[in-house]
């Protein structure tokens, strides 16, 4: 960490607030972007990995998100919600990518398990019967339900943060999340009954 960053925010990157970053940007724009990258890249990579299930694609998406952040003129405005914007762009890029992959007919999930590429890293780490069930169930959901479940239960965002990411009201977050969990009940219980 550079000396200037130590003065502004001595904590771990996760502890830096958006206000810290915006304050630093007024003096050192490049250092501010460095803070943004270090604060968010790990969790955005996690979010992107959960959607794409491909670490290479997730890595590229996260890089693209930061490039777009560099070009976003409002990014350091006082009212701009950086975290929400970063998650929103990440989600959009990932879901577009997955949709394009499906259109190309190369979706991993349609390939029988035994024929999957041995090099697929997430295939090795998404293991455990319960995880398989949960992921299989989540995969059967709409993008909207999948996204909101990931944001809440895997990215650990609050309802207010999710509302900002999705640009919807708090009540919509509650109802959409409830419908998603209800759908999960409907999908999981037949799997577990087998």
């Amino acid at each position: 960490m550079s000396a200037s960053l130590s003065l502004v925010a001595p904590q771990a990157p996760a502890q830096w607030t958006e206000d810290d970053i915006k304050a630093l940007h007024r003096e050192q724009p490049q250092a501010a972007m460095e803070m943004v990258v270090r604060k968010f890249r790990g969790r955005l990579f996690y979010h992107a990995s959960c959607i794409t299930k491909d670490s290479q694609e997730a890595y590229d998406v996260v890089q693209e998100v930061f490039i777009r952040a560099m070009r976003e003129r409002r990014f350091y405005d006082a009212e701009f919600r950086q975290k929400a914007w970063l998650y929103r762009v990440t989600s959009n890029l990932c879901f577009n990518l997955v949709r394009n992959r499906k259109r190309r007919g190369a979706i991993l999930e349609t390939v029988p398990r035994k024929e999957r590429d041995e090099g697929d890293q997430l295939d090795r780490v998404f293991r455990g019967e319960q995880r398989e069930e949960i992921l299989a169930a989540i995969d059967q959901m709409t993008d909207a339900h999948k996204e909101i479940l990931l944001l809440r239960y895997y990215d650990d965002l609050s309802y207010a943060e999710i509302a900002a990411v999705l640009d919807v009201k708090l009540g919509t977050v509650m109802s959409r999340l409830s419908r998603a969990r209800r759908r999960l009940v409907d999908v999981l219980e037949p799997i577990r009954a087998d």
Partner: protein, 180 residues
């Protein structure tokens, strides 16, 4: 005021996640007491668990290097040096390591960088051409010098022993002056 089944169902996740206001939570609980269907569905949702999903370990040294390079090229050369020194804390559940070299390096070239690259290329080609001309001129000068020495030797051989022969401007000849 009471909540009906639709209103309760749309708040089940918020109830489980303790995101309802105290007033709404009270109304929700009252509904469950008198509605076994909603109570059952709430219990089924409560039983859901979301085990952490493990992704590749981002704490592997060098994991972010390719991204740092890409971002530095994209717009901020300062990122190149400073980002490399630190790694974020690993994400929850991270278990498997990935060799960073396996990651695709997606280095995008923005307009300014592309222009600079093209300018450097043109400069390099120009320098190579100049070097080529200089080498040709040097060869020509060397040839001229050899011819001059030859002439000097011939003159020395034909002149009387007392006559000294001045060298024919060899010192003044540079590689770009052409032949004698």
């Amino acid at each position: 005021m009471q909540l009906d089944c639709d209103e309760v169902e749309s708040r089940m996740a918020a109830w489980i996640d303790a995101e309802l206001s105290p007033g709404e939570a009270e109304l929700f609980a009252q509904h469950l007491e008198r509605c076994p269907d909603c109570a059952l569905m709430t219990r089924r949702m409560e039983a859901q668990v979301f085990p952490p999903i493990a992704v590749v370990d981002t704490a592997v040294p060098g994991f972010w290097d390719a991204m740092d390079e890409g971002l530095a090229m994209a717009g901020s050369s300062a990122l190149r040096g400073t980002l490399r020194s630190a790694q974020d804390s690993p994400q929850p559940g991270g278990v498997a390591a990935t060799a960073p070299g396996l990651l695709r390096r997606n280095l995008r070239l923005p307009g300014v960088a592309a222009f600079l690259y093209a300018a450097l290329l043109v400069l390099a080609v120009g320098l190579a051409a100049v070097q080529s001309v200089r080498a040709a001129n040097a060869d020509a000068a060397r040839l001229a010098m050899e011819q001059s020495l030859e002439r000097q030797q011939r003159l020395s051989a034909t002149a009387s022993l007392d006559v000294s022969v001045e060298p024919v401007g060899l010192v003044a000849q540079g590689p770009f002056r052409g032949s004698l």
